[in-house]
């Protein structure tokens, strides 16, 4: 028995919304980053589910790419958060506001 495609989409959308909620509410940079990972994974769920649904592998392959890229992104992100901490003594993303308006 296969799960109908709608449920996958609903799942991914739910995940996406959770991620979005995290992005909007988390002030800790790391939490922010994790929320973004949730968003990416929501997309991955979609890709894989649709690949299954459409019967081609494109989506699955792409999901792999996406995961690799997410990892790279995290690497860069962590680097930036590190220097952020060095400069601002904090990882709160709302603290650096020297530039605005």
């Amino acid at each position: 028995m296969t799960v109908a495609i709608e449920y996958y989409v609903l799942l991914s959308m739910g995940l996406f919304c959770i991620g979005l909620f995290g992005v909007l509410t988390r002030r800790n940079a790391l939490m922010f980053l994790m929320s973004v990972e949730l968003l990416l994974n929501a997309a991955n769920i979609n890709l894989i589910a649709f690949a299954f649904y459409h019967g081609n592998l494109t989506g699955q392959v792409f999901a792999l790419f996406a995961m690799a890229l997410a990892a790279a992104e995290v690497a860069v992100g962590l680097g930036i958060i590190l220097v952020l901490y060095r400069n601002f003594r904090d990882v709160d993303v709302t603290v650096p506001t020297t530039m605005r308006w």
């Binding site: 709302t94 506001t97 308006w101």
Partner: protein
Amino acid sequence: MEGVFDYAPAIALFPLVAFVVVLAFGTYLPKKGALPGIIATGGSLLLSLVMAAAVASGEAYHETLYEWAAGDATSATGVEGVSFTFGLLIDPLAALMLVIVSLVAFLVHVFSLGYMNAEGETGLPRYYAGLGLFTFSMLAFVVADNLLMAFIFFELVGLCSFLLIGFWFRTKSAPSAAKKAFLVTRFGDYFFLIGVVAIAATFGTVAFAGDDSFVTAAETAIDGGDQLFGFDAQTWVTITGLLVLGGVIGKSAQFPLHTWLPDAMEGPTTVSALIHAATMVAAGVYLVARMFGYYALSPTTLAIIAFVGGFTALFAATMGVVKDDIKQVLAYSTISQYGYMMLGLGVGGYVAGVFHLMNHAFFKALLFLGAGAVIVIMHHEQDMWKMGGLKDKAPVTYYTFLAGALALAGIIPFSGFWSKDEILYDALIVGLEEPVIMAAYAMGLLAVFFTGFYTFRMVFLTFHGEPRSEVAEDPHPVGWSIKAPLLVLGVLAVVAGIANLAPVAKLAGVDITFLEHWLDGEYGAIEGLTYTAYGELLAYETSYIGSEQVTVLVAAGLSLLLAFSGAGLAWLLYNKPEPVAHTERLGSAGKVIEDNYYQDEYQVWLAEGLTLPLARAADRFDQTVIDGIVDGTSTASLFGSDRIRRLQTGIVTNYAALIVTGVIVLLLVLGFLGGWF
């Protein structure tokens, strides 16, 4: 004599050359530029006499010399193409005026040697250059063969007037007077220019004479019953005629634009004599005479001219009565006398008007130069109350001045009597039919009394009685350059009347009205520009009291009686060793007159009390409202800018929120439009 007309342009060009020479090299010339001026005006005088002789031999000259501008413009009367040219028109009128102008100009140049050079004035090249430019412009105006050229030089003499009135620019009053003179005449010229433009646009020509003159065209249009610019031809001719008259009123200092002339006395007295008495002021009257055919087509205009003239004659004469400054008296007298000329022309007395113009030029130049001599004698004192007793100390000045005064007062047999009498006679015979003219005549007549009074008040105060100041006891001697012009003009003031002894002619039946014949084209003339031709155009009815002779006698008797009464009253009041002022006796009327009927006040109020605040209000409006809108737009933009950039709060979480909001908004809009939900 035909060929001599080829030299006609030189009459005007001589002084122009003098102007250029003096302007460029005046400082280095002996007499600081007086000599080129004297030579040039002398040359002009000679040539003018030659022209007059040529006209006397039966020639006349009308030639276009230079095309200024031309183009296609269809006039309201259907004439295709228009060309604006410079040309010469030398007919009896112009020839006469040429002689008058060049003669007075020459004499004034000579007089200036004594009046300006001898007094050690600085800036003399400027003075002589101004005189040269003036003489050039005035002569060119006289010979102009079309209205536009006349306007051009009419304006240029105004410029010279400005420059020469303001000769002593380091004072406060002279520049102010110069400005006023130019502005007031400019106001008149505004109407004149509209008139020129209107005439050009209506008839496609601005020529004074010939078959394609605007006078002929206007006649044709009236006869043809044309509609011009929405008016019938007669009305339109009246309107344009009145517009041109605006310039005349300004330049000839007629009411209500007369206020500049008394102020213009701030200029050197020589300038007053030349420009503000004998010639430039005459330009207005001359212009009316020049285009008399046009005015003759419109009885309304003529009546207005006559009325304005009569009114001005009386009005100015009353003001002359109370003035203490010798030049002021003469200035108001000038205004008054030009009023007579206007009256004469307005009643169709073309010859009378021109005759008085000529006589006035001589005797008023004489009086001004005489006044100039007095001023030199008095070490530049102009107040008559500080003079007195000069009769014996300066006999030449006194007797020539007296001759001028007698002419001005209209005492028989001096020149002024003949011409003034003729004007009044012409006014009377028309006035018997036309009530308006009668009123004008009455005012003119009444003015005779005042003329006699102020003239002799001036003579008595200046020359008679005891010296009333130290300088009057120890007068400054004057040289030949002052005396000679006075003598020449004095003789002319006495004898010039011979030119047209109309009353004598009418009473005795002798044919001695030379000027009338001269102007009627018995010698040389241009067709249509003759007294007879004008007479045919005139629509005036005339009638007599009894017979013609009786009327002549009545008119002459009345004016003589009044002149003598005026002079007599002055003799009674002022011919004393120690005369006193009687102004107080006039009561509040005297105050009004002394203040010149508040004419200056209201005109100054118009300029400074009304126009200037209006201008300032406009400026404030401009700065606040109009510029405010411009600046406001920029302020509003920058305010908007300031709001918009506040979106960028600097907090990255807000950015994420805004991004999400943006996407949702887009989603809602697109989804709604696309029907996704």
